[in-house]
Symmetry: C2
Subunit: 169 residues, 2 copies
């Protein structure tokens, strides 16, 4: 069950690592509920729509990966409540980015849930470069082989047309 991914030549990639943990149908919805400060099993089950047995499995998996904690608040009918860890809270940018994409490209109508930023306006997520602070634009990135080992993007081919990077224009 430990999901031994890289068998032969799959791309070695931290996106795949992340998806190993939260890349199923329910996990990110569970994290969303914990963001809304829901802590109880039944509430999470209702709000996500996840079947109860699967939810139990996912909660244990997420706890195992350090995304949430299972704190026992009752002995001997062993009962737990769930909270985000630091790692779980760090998923906020992922959820907010996904929320924006879902709003703009899946649902076309009004977004039923909105957040207000401390600046007073509605919060809409935008990805910036940590180094220079600029917003990410189309073709602003060029992949680096990075290690010299395999796993990177082959520099000869690939990347350059409508991919992430746009070398010249």
């Amino acid at each position: 069950m430990t999901a031994a991914r890289a068998e032969k030549t799959t791309r070695d990639c931290t996106i795949a690592d992340a998806l190993e943990v939260v890349g199923d149908r329910w996990s990110l919805l569970v994290v969303r509920e914990l963001f809304y400060a829901e802590r109880r099993f039944t509430e999470i089950a209702r709000n996500t729509g996840a079947p109860r047995d699967i939810l139990a499995t996912r909660l244990r998996k997420l706890a195992g990966h350090g995304v949430i904690t299972r704190e026992r608040y009752s002995e001997r009918p062993p009962r737990y409540e769930y909270r985000l860890t630091e790692a779980g809270r760090a998923l906020a940018p992922v959820l907010l980015t996904l929320k924006r994409w879902g709003h703009e490209h899946v649902r076309k109508g009004a977004d039923p849930v909105r957040f207000d930023h401390t600046c007073g306006h509605e919060f809409v997520a935008e990805v910036h470069c940590t180094a220079c602070g600029d917003a990410l634009g189309v073709g602003d990135l060029t992949p680096q082989p990075a290690g010299g080992e395999r796993g990177g993007v082959s520099p000869a081919r690939g990347v350059g047309h409508e991919a992430v990077a746009r070398p010249a224009r």
Copy 2:
């Protein structure tokens, strides 16, 4: 198959909408490959590790949702190549945010794939507020009921402890 989600009282949410499209084990990896300008079935299968039949299914599903296009480049052995649409390209921020999380909270070692930004530094994704341009901090958000309809976060309880929002400190 059309996944009639909201049966009773699940939270109405564009995150769930997004996950309906890309919330399975392989779809985001497929999109990642298309970002790397891979267009061929066999390459995508190899680099993601997805079984070929499932990959065929996913490619059709993603095309159906307008995330990718299937362009026929050969008649009569009908063969297609795949490209991202505008909506698919808009997933770049999601992938980059997920990549950062995977790097920082799942894998602890060096990231095998890196991107350089036009500013000259390695690109690390950071989520900002579109309105004011500031980077998102802990407790910067407060949920709004937004419609007046159901689906929002109940304002009385929830949200306020270690959730997204932090009303006071």
